[in-house]
Protein backbone atom coordinates (compact mmCIF):
# COMPACT_ATOMS: atom_id res chain seq x y z
CA UNK A 1 0.00 0.00 0.00
CA UNK A 2 1.45 3.35 -1.08
CA UNK A 3 0.42 6.33 1.06
CA UNK A 4 0.75 9.98 0.06
CA UNK A 5 -0.26 12.98 2.16
CA UNK A 6 -3.02 14.99 0.47
CA UNK A 7 -3.49 17.57 3.22
CA UNK A 8 -1.03 17.80 6.10
CA UNK A 9 -2.06 19.09 9.49
CA UNK A 10 -1.34 22.77 8.72
CA UNK A 11 -2.99 22.74 5.30
CA UNK A 12 -6.00 20.88 6.67
CA UNK A 13 -6.36 23.51 9.38
CA UNK A 14 -6.20 26.31 6.80
CA UNK A 15 -8.85 24.54 4.68
CA UNK A 16 -11.19 24.05 7.63
CA UNK A 17 -10.71 27.66 8.76
CA UNK A 18 -11.54 28.84 5.23
CA UNK A 19 -14.70 26.68 5.23
CA UNK A 20 -15.70 28.18 8.60
CA UNK A 21 -15.42 31.72 7.25
CA UNK A 22 -17.47 30.77 4.17
CA UNK A 23 -20.16 29.48 6.54
CA UNK A 24 -20.05 32.59 8.73
CA UNK A 25 -20.43 34.68 5.55
CA UNK A 26 -23.57 32.78 4.53
CA UNK A 27 -25.13 31.77 7.87
CA UNK A 28 -24.50 34.96 9.87
CA UNK A 29 -25.36 34.26 13.48
CA UNK A 30 -26.54 30.70 12.65
CA UNK A 31 -30.01 31.43 14.02
CA UNK A 32 -32.64 28.95 12.80
CA UNK A 33 -29.84 26.82 11.34
CA UNK A 34 -28.25 23.52 12.28
CA UNK A 35 -25.10 21.63 11.40
CA UNK A 36 -25.62 17.89 11.00
CA UNK A 37 -22.77 15.41 10.57
CA UNK A 38 -23.37 12.28 8.52
CA UNK A 39 -22.43 9.13 10.44
CA UNK A 40 -19.95 7.65 10.82
CA UNK A 41 -16.96 9.69 9.54
CA UNK A 42 -18.77 12.87 8.55
CA UNK A 43 -19.95 13.22 12.14
CA UNK A 44 -16.36 13.22 13.41
CA UNK A 45 -15.44 15.96 10.93
CA UNK A 46 -18.63 17.89 11.73
CA UNK A 47 -17.76 17.88 15.44
CA UNK A 48 -14.36 19.32 14.61
CA UNK A 49 -15.90 21.95 12.31
CA UNK A 50 -18.53 22.80 14.89
CA UNK A 51 -16.00 23.38 17.68
CA UNK A 52 -13.83 25.49 15.34
CA UNK A 53 -16.87 27.63 14.42
CA UNK A 54 -17.68 28.04 18.09
CA UNK A 55 -14.14 29.28 18.78
CA UNK A 56 -14.33 31.76 15.89
CA UNK A 57 -17.85 33.11 16.52
CA UNK A 58 -18.41 32.39 20.21
CA UNK A 59 -22.10 31.65 19.55
CA UNK A 60 -23.90 28.38 20.21
CA UNK A 61 -24.75 26.56 16.99
CA UNK A 62 -27.35 23.76 16.89
CA UNK A 63 -25.57 20.49 16.16
CA UNK A 64 -26.68 16.94 15.41
CA UNK A 65 -25.58 13.64 13.93
CA UNK A 66 -27.60 11.59 11.47
CA UNK A 67 -27.19 7.94 10.57
CA UNK A 68 -28.30 7.12 7.01
CA UNK A 69 -28.07 3.30 7.34
CA UNK A 70 -31.79 2.52 7.31
CA UNK A 71 -32.29 4.68 4.21
CA UNK A 72 -29.41 3.28 2.13
CA UNK A 73 -30.07 1.74 -1.29
CA UNK A 74 -27.47 -1.03 -0.96
CA UNK A 75 -29.08 -3.01 1.89
CA UNK A 76 -28.72 -6.74 1.10
CA UNK A 77 -26.86 -5.88 -2.11
CA UNK A 78 -23.21 -5.40 -1.21
CA UNK A 79 -20.74 -7.69 0.49
CA UNK A 80 -20.77 -5.51 3.59
CA UNK A 81 -23.27 -6.05 6.36
CA UNK A 82 -24.73 -2.65 7.19
CA UNK A 83 -24.25 -1.51 10.75
CA UNK A 84 -26.30 1.34 12.19
CA UNK A 85 -24.73 4.17 14.19
CA UNK A 86 -26.56 6.52 16.55
CA UNK A 87 -28.66 9.44 15.39
CA UNK A 88 -28.63 12.45 17.71
CA UNK A 89 -31.20 15.05 16.66
CA UNK A 90 -32.59 16.71 19.77
CA UNK A 91 -34.01 19.71 17.92
CA UNK A 92 -36.79 20.36 15.39
CA UNK A 93 -35.75 20.29 11.74
CA UNK A 94 -38.99 21.91 10.52
CA UNK A 95 -38.32 25.25 8.82
CA UNK A 96 -34.56 25.26 9.63
CA UNK A 97 -31.64 25.83 7.29
CA UNK A 98 -29.62 22.61 7.50
CA UNK A 99 -25.96 22.10 6.65
CA UNK A 100 -25.13 18.44 6.06
CA UNK A 101 -21.46 17.67 6.65
CA UNK A 102 -19.46 14.71 5.33
CA UNK A 103 -15.73 14.11 5.08
CA UNK A 104 -15.50 12.51 1.63
CA UNK A 105 -18.09 13.05 -1.12
CA UNK A 106 -17.75 9.97 -3.32
CA UNK A 107 -20.69 8.33 -5.12
CA UNK A 108 -23.28 10.66 -3.57
CA UNK A 109 -25.33 7.71 -2.34
CA UNK A 110 -24.64 8.33 1.34
CA UNK A 111 -25.78 11.95 1.01
CA UNK A 112 -28.92 10.83 -0.84
CA UNK A 113 -29.80 8.50 2.01
CA UNK A 114 -28.85 11.08 4.65
CA UNK A 115 -31.24 13.59 3.02
CA UNK A 116 -33.96 10.94 3.10
CA UNK A 117 -33.29 10.31 6.79
CA UNK A 118 -33.27 14.05 7.46
CA UNK A 119 -36.72 14.52 5.91
CA UNK A 120 -38.16 12.01 8.43
CA UNK A 121 -37.57 14.64 11.11
CA UNK A 122 -39.57 17.35 9.32
CA UNK A 123 -39.34 19.75 6.38
CA UNK A 124 -36.22 21.92 6.48
CA UNK A 125 -36.44 25.27 4.69
CA UNK A 126 -33.14 24.59 2.93
CA UNK A 127 -30.48 21.86 2.90
CA UNK A 128 -26.86 22.51 1.93
CA UNK A 129 -23.87 20.18 1.75
CA UNK A 130 -20.32 20.70 2.95
CA UNK A 131 -17.67 18.13 2.06
CA UNK A 132 -14.00 18.20 2.99
CA UNK A 133 -12.89 16.09 0.03
CA UNK A 134 -14.69 15.87 -3.32
CA UNK A 135 -13.88 12.80 -5.43
CA UNK A 136 -15.87 14.14 -8.35
CA UNK A 137 -15.00 11.42 -10.92
CA UNK A 138 -16.79 8.77 -8.88
CA UNK A 139 -20.23 10.34 -8.63
CA UNK A 140 -23.18 8.04 -9.29
CA UNK A 141 -25.95 10.53 -8.46
CA UNK A 142 -26.46 14.22 -9.37
CA UNK A 143 -25.27 15.54 -6.00
CA UNK A 144 -22.70 18.33 -5.55
CA UNK A 145 -21.37 20.10 -2.47
CA UNK A 146 -22.08 23.78 -1.75
CA UNK A 147 -18.90 24.14 0.32
CA UNK A 148 -15.76 22.22 -0.61
CA UNK A 149 -12.41 21.67 1.05
CA UNK A 150 -10.42 20.16 -1.80
CA UNK A 151 -11.16 18.25 -5.00
CA UNK A 152 -9.20 15.10 -5.91
CA UNK A 153 -9.37 13.54 -9.34
CA UNK A 154 -8.84 9.89 -8.55
CA UNK A 155 -10.70 6.73 -9.41
CA UNK A 156 -10.81 3.37 -7.64
CA UNK A 157 -8.84 1.49 -6.36
CA UNK A 158 -7.27 4.67 -4.97
CA UNK A 159 -8.70 5.53 -1.53
CA UNK A 160 -8.85 8.76 0.43
CA UNK A 161 -8.59 8.50 4.20
CA UNK A 162 -9.21 11.33 6.64
CA UNK A 163 -7.73 10.86 10.12
CA UNK A 164 -8.57 12.96 13.16
CA UNK A 165 -6.42 13.38 16.24
CA UNK A 166 -9.19 11.93 18.41
CA UNK A 167 -9.25 8.62 16.47
CA UNK A 168 -7.56 5.59 17.99
CA UNK A 169 -3.84 5.36 17.13
CA UNK A 170 -3.80 8.79 15.47
CA UNK A 171 -1.85 11.78 16.78
CA UNK A 172 -2.70 14.55 14.29
CA UNK A 173 -5.27 15.57 11.69
CA UNK A 174 -4.20 14.43 8.25
CA UNK A 175 -5.67 13.38 4.87
CA UNK A 176 -4.06 10.47 3.00
CA UNK A 177 -4.28 9.15 -0.54
CA UNK A 178 -3.80 5.37 -0.47
CA UNK A 179 -2.90 3.32 -3.53
CA UNK A 180 -2.21 -0.40 -3.92
CA UNK A 181 1.31 -0.94 -5.24
Amino acid sequence: MEARVLLDTDLLDITITRLCYELIENYGDFSNSAIIGVQPRGAVFAEYLHSKLKTLTNIPITFGKIDPTFHRDDFRRGDDILQAKTTEMDFAVEGKKILLVDDVLFTGRTIRSAMDALISFGRPSKVELLALIDRRFNRELPIQADYLGITVDTVEPVKVKVEWENDADVTKNIVWILKDK
Partner: protein, 310 residues
Protein backbone atom coordinates in the same frame (compact mmCIF):
# COMPACT_ATOMS: atom_id res chain seq x y z
CA UNK B 1 -19.68 -7.78 15.21
CA UNK B 2 -22.76 -6.68 13.37
CA UNK B 3 -23.61 -10.12 12.05
CA UNK B 4 -25.84 -12.69 13.65
CA UNK B 5 -24.50 -16.23 13.82
CA UNK B 6 -27.84 -17.61 12.67
CA UNK B 7 -30.20 -17.27 9.73
CA UNK B 8 -33.29 -17.89 11.87
CA UNK B 9 -34.47 -16.67 15.25
CA UNK B 10 -35.81 -19.95 16.60
CA UNK B 11 -34.97 -19.52 20.25
CA UNK B 12 -32.58 -17.76 22.60
CA UNK B 13 -30.86 -21.11 23.19
CA UNK B 14 -29.39 -20.98 19.67
CA UNK B 15 -28.10 -17.40 20.00
CA UNK B 16 -24.63 -16.45 21.22
CA UNK B 17 -24.13 -13.72 23.81
CA UNK B 18 -22.75 -11.55 20.99
CA UNK B 19 -25.92 -12.14 18.92
CA UNK B 20 -28.04 -10.95 21.84
CA UNK B 21 -25.90 -7.86 22.36
CA UNK B 22 -26.01 -7.06 18.62
CA UNK B 23 -29.82 -7.28 18.61
CA UNK B 24 -30.13 -5.11 21.73
CA UNK B 25 -27.76 -2.41 20.46
CA UNK B 26 -29.51 -2.34 17.07
CA UNK B 27 -32.86 -2.09 18.88
CA UNK B 28 -31.65 1.11 20.56
CA UNK B 29 -31.16 2.63 17.09
CA UNK B 30 -34.68 1.60 16.09
CA UNK B 31 -36.14 3.03 19.29
CA UNK B 32 -34.84 6.40 18.09
CA UNK B 33 -36.47 5.78 14.68
CA UNK B 34 -39.92 5.03 16.15
CA UNK B 35 -39.79 8.27 18.11
CA UNK B 36 -39.22 10.41 15.01
CA UNK B 37 -42.08 12.50 13.56
CA UNK B 38 -42.00 10.12 10.55
CA UNK B 39 -41.55 6.67 12.05
CA UNK B 40 -41.05 4.71 8.86
CA UNK B 41 -37.75 3.80 7.18
CA UNK B 42 -37.49 2.18 3.72
CA UNK B 43 -34.98 -0.53 4.70
CA UNK B 44 -37.03 -3.69 4.04
CA UNK B 45 -39.03 -2.34 1.11
CA UNK B 46 -38.11 -5.30 -1.12
CA UNK B 47 -39.00 -7.93 1.46
CA UNK B 48 -42.26 -9.78 1.96
CA UNK B 49 -43.03 -11.25 5.36
CA UNK B 50 -45.75 -13.74 6.27
CA UNK B 51 -47.10 -13.68 9.81
CA UNK B 52 -48.44 -17.14 10.51
CA UNK B 53 -50.37 -17.30 13.75
CA UNK B 54 -51.63 -20.77 14.60
CA UNK B 55 -52.45 -19.59 18.11
CA UNK B 56 -54.15 -16.48 19.50
CA UNK B 57 -52.14 -13.31 20.04
CA UNK B 58 -52.77 -9.59 20.37
CA UNK B 59 -49.58 -7.90 21.51
CA UNK B 60 -47.01 -9.99 19.67
CA UNK B 61 -48.95 -9.96 16.44
CA UNK B 62 -49.62 -6.22 16.45
CA UNK B 63 -46.04 -5.55 17.52
CA UNK B 64 -44.56 -7.67 14.71
CA UNK B 65 -46.89 -6.15 12.13
CA UNK B 66 -46.06 -2.62 13.24
CA UNK B 67 -42.31 -3.41 13.23
CA UNK B 68 -42.61 -4.78 9.69
CA UNK B 69 -44.61 -1.79 8.47
CA UNK B 70 -42.20 0.68 10.08
CA UNK B 71 -39.47 -1.04 8.05
CA UNK B 72 -41.58 -0.79 4.86
CA UNK B 73 -41.85 -4.57 4.37
CA UNK B 74 -44.87 -6.05 2.62
CA UNK B 75 -46.89 -8.03 5.14
CA UNK B 76 -49.37 -10.84 4.85
CA UNK B 77 -51.26 -12.06 7.86
CA UNK B 78 -52.59 -15.51 8.36
CA UNK B 79 -54.48 -17.02 11.24
CA UNK B 80 -55.29 -20.69 11.50
CA UNK B 81 -58.92 -20.13 12.47
CA UNK B 82 -59.79 -18.77 9.02
CA UNK B 83 -57.55 -21.00 6.89
CA UNK B 84 -57.17 -24.36 5.18
CA UNK B 85 -55.56 -25.74 8.34
CA UNK B 86 -59.14 -26.39 9.38
CA UNK B 87 -59.50 -28.55 6.25
CA UNK B 88 -56.62 -30.81 7.31
CA UNK B 89 -53.62 -29.30 5.48
CA UNK B 90 -50.20 -30.04 7.06
CA UNK B 91 -47.99 -27.25 8.42
CA UNK B 92 -45.32 -27.81 5.76
CA UNK B 93 -47.87 -27.72 2.94
CA UNK B 94 -49.43 -24.52 4.26
CA UNK B 95 -46.06 -22.80 4.58
CA UNK B 96 -44.72 -24.04 1.22
CA UNK B 97 -47.83 -22.73 -0.50
CA UNK B 98 -47.34 -19.33 1.07
CA UNK B 99 -43.64 -19.33 0.22
CA UNK B 100 -44.45 -20.20 -3.42
CA UNK B 101 -45.89 -16.68 -3.58
CA UNK B 102 -42.32 -15.34 -3.06
CA UNK B 103 -42.25 -14.66 0.64
CA UNK B 104 -38.80 -13.95 2.16
CA UNK B 105 -39.46 -14.28 5.86
CA UNK B 106 -41.86 -16.14 8.12
CA UNK B 107 -42.93 -15.08 11.60
CA UNK B 108 -44.71 -18.00 13.23
CA UNK B 109 -46.59 -18.71 16.42
CA UNK B 110 -47.59 -22.32 16.90
CA UNK B 111 -49.02 -24.34 19.81
CA UNK B 112 -46.51 -27.19 19.26
CA UNK B 113 -43.02 -26.80 20.74
CA UNK B 114 -40.39 -27.15 18.01
CA UNK B 115 -42.71 -26.29 15.09
CA UNK B 116 -40.45 -23.44 13.83
CA UNK B 117 -37.35 -25.64 14.25
CA UNK B 118 -39.03 -28.29 12.07
CA UNK B 119 -39.86 -25.65 9.43
CA UNK B 120 -36.30 -24.31 9.43
CA UNK B 121 -35.08 -27.73 8.30
CA UNK B 122 -37.38 -27.76 5.30
CA UNK B 123 -37.66 -24.22 3.93
CA UNK B 124 -35.24 -21.51 2.79
CA UNK B 125 -36.97 -18.40 4.15
CA UNK B 126 -35.78 -16.81 7.41
CA UNK B 127 -37.96 -17.91 10.32
CA UNK B 128 -38.73 -15.99 13.48
CA UNK B 129 -40.34 -17.90 16.31
CA UNK B 130 -43.12 -15.78 17.82
CA UNK B 131 -43.85 -18.42 20.47
CA UNK B 132 -43.94 -22.21 20.12
CA UNK B 133 -46.19 -23.80 22.75
CA UNK B 134 -44.57 -23.92 26.19
CA UNK B 135 -41.06 -23.84 24.67
CA UNK B 136 -39.58 -20.45 23.65
CA UNK B 137 -40.63 -16.88 22.86
CA UNK B 138 -37.32 -15.30 21.87
CA UNK B 139 -38.44 -11.78 20.94
CA UNK B 140 -40.25 -11.42 24.29
CA UNK B 141 -37.05 -12.34 26.16
CA UNK B 142 -35.06 -9.88 24.05
CA UNK B 143 -37.50 -7.04 24.69
CA UNK B 144 -37.52 -7.91 28.40
CA UNK B 145 -33.72 -7.78 28.48
CA UNK B 146 -33.75 -4.51 26.51
CA UNK B 147 -36.25 -2.96 28.97
CA UNK B 148 -34.24 -4.15 31.98
CA UNK B 149 -31.03 -2.74 30.49
CA UNK B 150 -32.72 0.61 29.91
CA UNK B 151 -33.62 0.74 33.60
CA UNK B 152 -30.59 -0.94 35.21
CA UNK B 153 -27.70 -0.72 32.74
CA UNK B 154 -25.63 -3.83 31.97
CA UNK B 155 -27.35 -6.91 33.34
CA UNK B 156 -24.22 -8.76 34.52
CA UNK B 157 -24.71 -9.52 38.22
CA UNK B 158 -28.24 -8.03 38.34
CA UNK B 159 -30.82 -10.03 40.29
CA UNK B 160 -33.90 -11.02 38.33
CA UNK B 161 -36.95 -12.74 39.81
CA UNK B 162 -39.25 -14.64 37.48
CA UNK B 163 -42.46 -15.44 39.34
CA UNK B 164 -45.56 -17.39 38.38
CA UNK B 165 -46.40 -20.26 36.07
CA UNK B 166 -42.86 -21.27 35.10
CA UNK B 167 -43.91 -24.69 33.84
CA UNK B 168 -46.22 -23.48 31.08
CA UNK B 169 -44.40 -20.28 30.23
CA UNK B 170 -42.31 -19.96 27.08
CA UNK B 171 -41.46 -16.45 28.29
CA UNK B 172 -39.81 -17.92 31.40
CA UNK B 173 -37.61 -20.34 29.46
CA UNK B 174 -36.49 -17.73 26.90
CA UNK B 175 -35.88 -15.23 29.70
CA UNK B 176 -33.72 -17.74 31.58
CA UNK B 177 -31.55 -18.46 28.52
CA UNK B 178 -31.27 -14.78 27.62
CA UNK B 179 -30.51 -13.42 31.10
CA UNK B 180 -28.03 -16.18 31.89
CA UNK B 181 -26.15 -15.40 28.67
CA UNK B 182 -26.04 -11.72 29.71
CA UNK B 183 -24.69 -12.67 33.12
CA UNK B 184 -27.71 -11.93 35.36
CA UNK B 185 -28.63 -14.01 38.43
CA UNK B 186 -32.08 -15.57 38.33
CA UNK B 187 -34.49 -16.79 40.98
CA UNK B 188 -37.74 -18.53 40.11
CA UNK B 189 -40.75 -18.33 42.40
CA UNK B 190 -44.13 -20.05 42.23
CA UNK B 191 -46.09 -23.02 43.57
CA UNK B 192 -43.91 -26.18 43.54
CA UNK B 193 -46.38 -27.79 41.14
CA UNK B 194 -45.67 -25.07 38.54
CA UNK B 195 -41.86 -25.22 38.74
CA UNK B 196 -40.44 -27.99 36.53
CA UNK B 197 -38.18 -30.52 38.24
CA UNK B 198 -34.49 -30.14 37.47
CA UNK B 199 -34.77 -26.57 36.19
CA UNK B 200 -31.88 -25.63 38.53
CA UNK B 201 -29.60 -27.21 35.92
CA UNK B 202 -30.16 -24.07 33.79
CA UNK B 203 -28.34 -22.08 36.47
CA UNK B 204 -31.29 -20.66 38.39
CA UNK B 205 -32.28 -20.60 42.08
CA UNK B 206 -35.73 -21.51 43.37
CA UNK B 207 -37.56 -19.72 46.17
CA UNK B 208 -41.07 -20.64 47.25
CA UNK B 209 -41.70 -17.55 49.40
CA UNK B 210 -42.69 -14.56 47.24
CA UNK B 211 -41.81 -12.03 49.96
CA UNK B 212 -38.25 -13.36 50.30
CA UNK B 213 -37.93 -13.52 46.53
CA UNK B 214 -39.06 -9.89 46.10
CA UNK B 215 -36.69 -8.74 48.85
CA UNK B 216 -33.78 -10.40 46.98
CA UNK B 217 -34.38 -9.04 43.49
CA UNK B 218 -33.61 -5.83 41.51
CA UNK B 219 -36.33 -6.59 39.00
CA UNK B 220 -39.37 -8.86 39.12
CA UNK B 221 -40.87 -10.32 35.94
CA UNK B 222 -44.34 -11.52 36.93
CA UNK B 223 -45.91 -14.16 34.68
CA UNK B 224 -49.52 -15.03 34.02
CA UNK B 225 -51.09 -18.28 35.14
CA UNK B 226 -51.71 -20.04 31.83
CA UNK B 227 -55.01 -21.71 32.61
CA UNK B 228 -55.55 -22.58 28.94
CA UNK B 229 -52.50 -24.88 28.99
CA UNK B 230 -53.34 -26.58 32.30
CA UNK B 231 -55.42 -29.73 32.06
CA UNK B 232 -55.05 -30.70 35.70
CA UNK B 233 -55.36 -28.51 38.78
CA UNK B 234 -51.94 -27.30 39.94
CA UNK B 235 -53.20 -25.18 42.87
CA UNK B 236 -56.48 -25.06 44.83
CA UNK B 237 -57.91 -21.75 43.58
CA UNK B 238 -56.99 -18.46 41.91
CA UNK B 239 -57.87 -16.70 45.17
CA UNK B 240 -55.41 -18.85 47.09
CA UNK B 241 -52.76 -18.27 44.42
CA UNK B 242 -53.28 -14.50 44.65
CA UNK B 243 -52.96 -14.61 48.44
CA UNK B 244 -49.82 -16.77 48.44
CA UNK B 245 -47.92 -15.66 45.32
CA UNK B 246 -49.67 -12.50 44.07
CA UNK B 247 -47.60 -9.31 43.95
CA UNK B 248 -49.58 -6.59 45.72
CA UNK B 249 -48.98 -3.09 47.03
CA UNK B 250 -48.38 -4.25 50.58
CA UNK B 251 -45.69 -6.72 49.53
CA UNK B 252 -43.92 -4.15 47.32
CA UNK B 253 -44.06 -1.36 49.92
CA UNK B 254 -42.72 -3.57 52.71
CA UNK B 255 -39.45 -4.00 50.75
CA UNK B 256 -38.04 -0.54 51.63
CA UNK B 257 -36.26 -0.48 48.27
CA UNK B 258 -37.10 0.26 44.65
CA UNK B 259 -37.61 -2.73 42.41
CA UNK B 260 -38.66 -2.78 38.77
CA UNK B 261 -41.92 -4.58 38.00
CA UNK B 262 -42.42 -6.25 34.64
CA UNK B 263 -45.14 -8.38 33.07
CA UNK B 264 -45.21 -9.77 29.52
CA UNK B 265 -49.03 -9.49 29.33
CA UNK B 266 -51.83 -10.26 29.11
CA UNK B 267 -52.30 -9.41 32.80
CA UNK B 268 -54.81 -11.22 34.99
CA UNK B 269 -55.36 -8.28 37.30
CA UNK B 270 -55.90 -9.35 40.89
CA UNK B 271 -54.34 -12.80 40.36
CA UNK B 272 -50.56 -12.67 39.80
CA UNK B 273 -50.39 -8.89 40.21
CA UNK B 274 -52.79 -6.28 41.58
CA UNK B 275 -53.79 -3.17 39.63
CA UNK B 276 -52.11 -0.77 42.06
CA UNK B 277 -48.75 -2.47 41.42
CA UNK B 278 -49.23 -2.98 37.68
CA UNK B 279 -50.05 0.72 37.22
CA UNK B 280 -47.51 2.05 39.75
CA UNK B 281 -44.34 4.01 39.06
CA UNK B 282 -42.31 0.84 39.61
CA UNK B 283 -43.97 -0.82 36.64
CA UNK B 284 -42.39 -0.68 33.15
CA UNK B 285 -45.08 -2.86 31.57
CA UNK B 286 -45.99 -0.31 28.88
CA UNK B 287 -42.30 0.46 28.18
CA UNK B 288 -41.94 -3.25 27.45
CA UNK B 289 -44.64 -2.94 24.81
CA UNK B 290 -42.97 0.08 23.16
CA UNK B 291 -39.57 -1.62 23.25
CA UNK B 292 -41.13 -4.72 21.68
CA UNK B 293 -41.55 -2.89 18.37
CA UNK B 294 -37.93 -1.65 18.40
CA UNK B 295 -36.53 -5.08 19.31
CA UNK B 296 -38.57 -6.81 16.60
CA UNK B 297 -37.43 -4.21 14.04
CA UNK B 298 -33.85 -5.02 15.03
CA UNK B 299 -34.40 -8.77 14.68
CA UNK B 300 -36.06 -8.38 11.27
CA UNK B 301 -33.35 -5.99 10.07
CA UNK B 302 -30.46 -8.20 11.19
CA UNK B 303 -31.98 -11.41 9.78
CA UNK B 304 -32.75 -9.70 6.46
CA UNK B 305 -29.18 -8.37 6.41
CA UNK B 306 -28.05 -11.96 6.80
CA UNK B 307 -30.52 -13.28 4.27
CA UNK B 308 -28.94 -12.62 0.90
CA UNK B 309 -25.51 -14.10 1.51
CA UNK B 310 -26.93 -17.48 2.40
Amino acid sequence: MSQLSTKHLLGIKQLTEQDIRTILSTAAKFKEVINRPIKKVPTLRDITIANLFFENSTRTRVSFELAQKRLSADVINFSSSSSSVKKGETLLDTVNNILAMKVDMVVMRHPSPGAPHFLAKHIDANIINAGDGTHEHPTQALLDAFSMQEKLGDLAGKKVLIAGDIMHSRVALSNIFCLRKLGAEITLCGPPTLIPQGIESLGVRIEYNIEKALAWCDVANILRIQLERQNTKYFPSLREYALTFGVNKKRVESLHKEIVIMHPGPINRGVEITSDVADSKHSIILDQVENGVAVRMAALFLLANKGIEN
